[in-house]
């Protein structure tokens, strides 16, 4: 074989080995396995509920700052906290949740700002790509062909090195210390245990954090925004009551009004409602756990009660069935109650 032939053979062999290794052998049972387990558990809870339900869908703002455990009894409606993490492709997330949503459900979307402007290229190689390629070919097949190719090429050097390590750690029953650091997930899909005490180590980070706010134009044209708009249209057309919302954020560094209006129009222009809480989901930095999207547990409860009261007035048909409800939504409290 001549030298050029050898060069081409080496390149082809590399591609073949890569495809075989990542398509059939290598896996990351701890990091990606955790995300997969979270998504599957939340979908399983949604599938088990036969009556109309409230689904909260976002990135980690969903489970960290919202608590279905609190919202459910106030709304008298089953609730599933469906969010897991920013970075999981919205197209993947929506494709999975389409099967779990039914007419009469309420879908509340307090999507993080980053979700609206997440680029196409970034979405295609998120952790969901690896999850689909190894464990969920059915969902992958339902997505465009370009997504299949991107899924195959979503594994970098770190994935290759960490796969055997994670597999070995799983085999020796590695003790995951995450619960001690950030808390855990309850049956509703809420994140719990992320207390103000645990947040103490993040105080300096929170104090120094400078939130990035995308422009209204970026929100309008962002790839994530188009996915949210399309999903909103689909859900509305299928009888799901979609309500857009705001993510939690620092009160001292709020998003500009133009951005807020751009986020609102993603929902309203596609047939959905948009709900802003009286405090616009803004809290002092001391109310947060580690980032602007993660309230600590005490304030998660405050925010959830406030949201539940507002949603009760938004959910007209069911609210009417409870004449004991007061005449208007309550004002927000400024301090945690538990």
């Amino acid at each position: 074989m001549n030298t050029m032939g050898r060069l081409i053979s080496a390149c082809l062999a590399s591609m073949l080995l890569y495809a075989l290794a990542f398509g059939f052998i290598l896996d990351r049972p701890l990091s990606l396995g955790y995300l997969r387990q979270q998504i599957d558990a939340k979908l399983a809870r949604a599938a088990a509920i036969e009556q109309p339900k409230l689904v909260i869908l976002a990135g980690s703002n969903g489970p960290y700052s919202h608590r279905c455990e609190i919202i459910e009894p106030i709304l008298r409606m089953p609730c599933v906290n469906g969010g897991v993490a920013v970075g999981i492709g919205l197209d993947y997330l929506f494709a999975r949740w389409q099967k779990a949503l039914h007419s009469g459900d309420i879908l509340y979307l307090p999507m993080e700002e980053a979700q609206y402007v997440r680029a196409h290229a970034t979405t295609e190689v998120g952790p969901d790509a690896a999850i689909m390629l190894r464990h969920d070919w059915r969902t992958l097949a339902s997505l465009p062909t370009a997504r299949w190719i991107a899924a195959l090429f979503s594994f970098d050097l770190r994935a290759a090195l960490m796969s055997p390590i994670e597999t070995a750690l799983q085999l020796v029953h590695f003790h995951d210390p995450r619960a001690e650091v950030t808390g855990a997930t309850n049956a509703w899909g809420d994140h719990v245990g992320h207390t103000a005490e645990l947040a103490a180590v993040n105080r300096a980070t929170l104090a120094a954090a400078s939130p990035y706010h995308p422009s209204a134009e970026q929100i309008r044209t962002g790839y994530g925004g188009t996915l949210i708009a399309a999903f909103t249209r689909w859900a509305t057309a299928h009888g799901v009551h979609v309500i857009g919302g705001l993510p939690t954020e620092f009160a001292d560094a709020p998003m500009p009004d133009a951005e807020l209006q751009a986020i609102r129009s993603v929902y309203v222009a596609n047939g959905a409602d948009f709900l802003t809480l009286p405090n616009f989901s803004r809290y002092p930095r001391s109310a947060f756990f580690d980032t602007a999207e993660h309230l600590n547990e005490s304030w998660q409860a405050v925010h959830s009660k406030l949201l539940a009261e507002q949603l009760r007035w938004h959910r007209v048909p069911i609210a009417a069935a409870h004449p004991a409800d007061p005449a208007g939504p309550p004002a927000p409290r400024n301090r945690p109650t538990d």
Partner: protein, 486 residues
């Protein structure tokens, strides 16, 4: 245009190669050179078209000056030739100084409280200025060929080395550009060049960019004044040492590979510098073409080692300080250059008589420590990082590691996770550890791309090509080469 961008790999490079060989076949070397100059200017203009005029103007002015120096030298008018040389070098340095150092001089050195001048640093100006200074000095000592404007323009603007070197001498390259068979495609050169290019690309997009993530996290935390623990600080510094090596040596390999495809042979720029047994050897192996430029055009003209010990050390220190300043108009680069100058002086004054393993380790640690001011955003961040590396903020290890190896509890505090290590996740410690192990194994235990046999290069490509494709076409962000900023 970046070498590590799809538009370069799939668009510019195939067109530039095809046009070069086609022009050579139809019109000979002259037309091939014309194509090369046009392609190179297009390559440069892709970044900012208006600076093509600056590059073209600089080439024309230096060519005119060089011709004048050459003819005066040949006529025996040495004094006039010397004046032209001084004038030409001064003009080049003035241009570089204006674009690169004006704000630093006004605000950093003179401490004037005036608004910052709005000066946009032209890409590659540090590199093409040095190339042309070498042309002027070679004109003065008569060691270059008198080949005309076209080969000279092709030499300066030659896209494989235009942006970030290697800094090649005119007498090394111009004779090759004048070869009658320059534009005849040769399968061995194409294959060799393509292999070296692909391996260099892998070093950049697979290895350097991986370590960039780890070092960025640590140095960003230091910039915010975060108390980095011993492991976090050392891992960030060691990651940066690998990042800059893979980034710049990867770039140099790509440049060498590209030139090889075009039947031009560049000198080596890196020769396993981290294996050096002392700091002098390190500088013979790191950015070799810059080191020899500084030796030939700064250290030796200052007197080199010809005027006694004190003068020699002063010359070394001056050369290294200027070398540091060449990398950027900021005090942290001066500090980096000064540290290396100090290392070189100490090495000359007190040569260590220790086993090679010990001197290699010591040299490597000294180099890593010196990278801290080079990478840090300022002196405060440098101090924050050095405090962490000195153990000032304690030694912490993830609980999982301490549970697995209980004796470690005697020296390290078990913590759930290290927040400034990688993504700050539970598994970040094993992830960064295994990546560092791989990186340092490649650097310390394996030969360079140029020392590998053809068969071994094939194996290296087999293990890295798919990851290169992944990083090139599917990684969400293209990271520019570190040396582009210099």
């Amino acid at each position: 245009m970046l070498f590590n961008s799809p538009e370069f790999v799939l668009g510019f490079l195939p067109l530039a190669l095809a046009g070069f060989f086609l022009a050579g076949r139809v019109g000979g070397t002259h037309w091939a050179l014309r194509w090369l100059v046009a392609a190179s200017l297009f390559f440069y203009g892709w970044w900012n078209p208006k600076f093509v005029l600056l590059l073209a103007g600089s080439i024309l002015a230096n060519y005119g000056c060089g011709q004048q120096i050459l003819s005066l030298t040949r006529e025996g008018r040495q004094l006039a030739a010397r004046r032209w040389l001084i004038g030409g070098v001064a003009a080049n340095l003035a241009l570089l100084g204006w674009f690169k150092y004006a704000n630093f001089m006004i605000q950093g050195v003179l401490q004037l409280h005036t608004p910052e001048l709005e000066i946009f640093l032209p890409l590659a100006i540090s590199f093409f200025t040095f190339q042309q200074i070498m042309f002027l000095t070679e004109s003065r000592n008569g060691s270059r060929v008198d080949a005309g404007l076209l080969p000279y323009a092709a030499f300066v603007a030659f896209f494989p080395h235009l942006i970030a070197g290697p800094i090649v001498k005119p007498r090394e390259i111009m004779p090759q550009l004048l070869a009658a068979n320059l534009a005849v495609p040769r399968a061995t050169h194409l294959t060799e060049g393509m292999t070296i290019f692909l391996l260099g690309l892998a070093k950049k997009v697979v290895l350097a960019d991986t370590f960039a993530h780890y070092s960025d996290v640590g140095f960003a935390a230091a910039a915010q004044g975060a108390p980095l623990s011993f492991i976090e600080a050392w891992y960030a510094a060691a990651s940066y040492a690998l990042q800059i090596y893979f980034d710049f040596s990867g770039y140099s390999d790509m440049a060498i590979g590209l030139a090889r495809m075009l039947n031009v042979r560049f000198p080596l720029n890196f020769a396993s510098p981290y294996k050096a047994a002392n700091i002098a050897e390190f500088w013979r192996c790191w950015h070799i073409t810059l080191s020899r430029f500084l030796r030939d055009h700064v250290y030796i003209p200052l007197g080199g080692n010809r005027h006694g010990e004190v003068r020699r050390h002063t010359n070394v220190m001056t050369t290294m300080l200027l070398g540091g300043l060449w990398h950027g108009a900021a005090w942290n680069f001066v500090l980096w250059g000064g540290l290396h100058g100090l290392y070189l002086v100490l090495h000359a004054r007190f040569p260590l008589r220790l086993p090679v393993v010990a001197t290699r380790t010591l040299t490597l640690l000294a180099v890593i420590v010196a990278w801290v001011p080079f990478r840090a955003s300022g002196l405060d961040a440098t101090m924050a990082m050095l405090r962490g590396m000195a153990g000032y903020n304690g030694i912490a290890l993830p609980q999982m590691i301490v549970h697995a190896f209980p004796p470690l509890a005697a020296i390290a505090k078990p913590v759930p996770l290290l927040p400034y290590l990688g993504d700050g996740r539970t598994l970040s410690f094993p992830e960064v550890s295994v990546c560092l192990l791989l990186g340092w194994t490649i650097v310390l235990a394996l030969p360079t791309v140029h020392d590998l046999s053809q068969r071994t290069r094939g194996w290296a490509l087999t293990s890295g090509f798919a990851f290169t494709v992944q990083a090139l076409f599917f990684a969400p962000h293209v990271m520019p080469f570190l040396y582009f900023q210099f």
